[in-house]
């Protein structure tokens, strides 16, 4: 049991380091296409973290929706709005605005880190059991049936809205 926990911890830290590096590259790199590809790394890392948390259905959904659909949408968006290939110097705000943004990010990280440490400290998960897809579907289609229907309407509205906005007339 202890060996399994050590393996989980090592996997967590390796994946987390890759994700943080990828996220930093997404917000700093000079090439739009590379930013989208670094985003793939971060999203795949999130799916791996869901597996570590024994949440199999959310992990599969993450791969299907984010890696399969949203990244392709982003690549379409980049290709349709880009004027020239290669690097683009016009992606970032001025240096002063970036310094202020970095300051805000660091302050936010400090506040959230302090409150998380204050609130949860060294609390352990305990014995993680797999949260089965059947149980998730039971929960969605009983307790959360009404929010599920609302989400369906929202997706339909977003679909129609996107078509109306993007078509040429």
């Amino acid at each position: 049991m202890l060996a399994l926990l050590v393996a989980q911890n090592i996997a967590f830290y390796v994946i987390a380091a890759l994700m943080v590096f990828g996220a930093l590259r997404v917000v700093t790199c000079k090439n739009l296409m590379h930013a989208a590809l670094w985003l793939v790394l971060v999203l795949a890392g999130v799916a791996a973290q869901y597996i570590l948390l024994a949440a199999e259905f959310v992990a599969i959904t993450q791969v299907l929706v984010y890696l399969g659909a949203i990244i392709v949408l982003f690549l379409f968006g980049i290709m349709l709005t880009r004027t020239k290939t290669g690097t683009d110097d016009n992606l970032n705000n001025s240096a002063g605005a970036r310094r202020m943004a970095a300051l805000i990010g660091v302050l936010l990280a400090g506040v959230m880190g302090y409150s998380l440490w204050d609130g949860f400290g060294k609390r352990e998960f305990g014995e993680l059991t797999v949260q089965r897809t059947a149980e998730v579907s039971d929960s969605i289609f009983s307790t959360y049936l009404l929010p599920f229907e609302v989400i369906s309407i929202l997706l339909l509205a977003a679909l129609i809205g996107a078509i109306v906005l993007a078509r040429r007339d």
């Binding site: 987390a16 917000v27 949440a55 959310v58 709005t81 992606l91 949860f120 949260q131």
Partner: protein, 104 residues
């Protein structure tokens, strides 16, 4: 595993996403940073869900809400990219600093 490992990871990703929203001026990159923020929230939701699942095996609210957030994110990206395409068609630029028609 500590609960805080996942919560700290979510907090760091959230802050990187906030930096991206504030520091980028390309609208597609701003949308990507918003995706980072939504994913960090999802990590938190699933971590809390796993935490409560240990004490109460019938409680799967964390995962259900993570799925709802994924659906909302998909809708948001679809509409957001449609708006970006429309701005590009009308102005030949997706610099968010140029879109200031409603600025007082």
């Amino acid at each position: 595993m500590l609960v805080n490992q996942f919560l700290f990871l979510g907090a760091i990703l959230f802050c990187i996403g906030v930096y991206g929203v504030l520091a980028r001026r390309n609208a597609v990159l701003v949308l990507m940073s918003i995706e980072l923020i939504l994913n960090s929230v999802n990590i938190n939701l699933v971590a809390f869900g796993a935490m409560w699942h240990v004490t109460d095996p019938s409680n799967l609210s964390g995962q259900v809400f993570a799925l709802f957030v994924i659906a909302i994110a998909a809708a948001e990206v679809g509409v957001g990219l449609a708006i970006v395409l429309l701005i590009h068609r009308n102005r030949q630029s997706i610099d968010v600093n140029d879109v200031d028609l409603m600025k007082g």
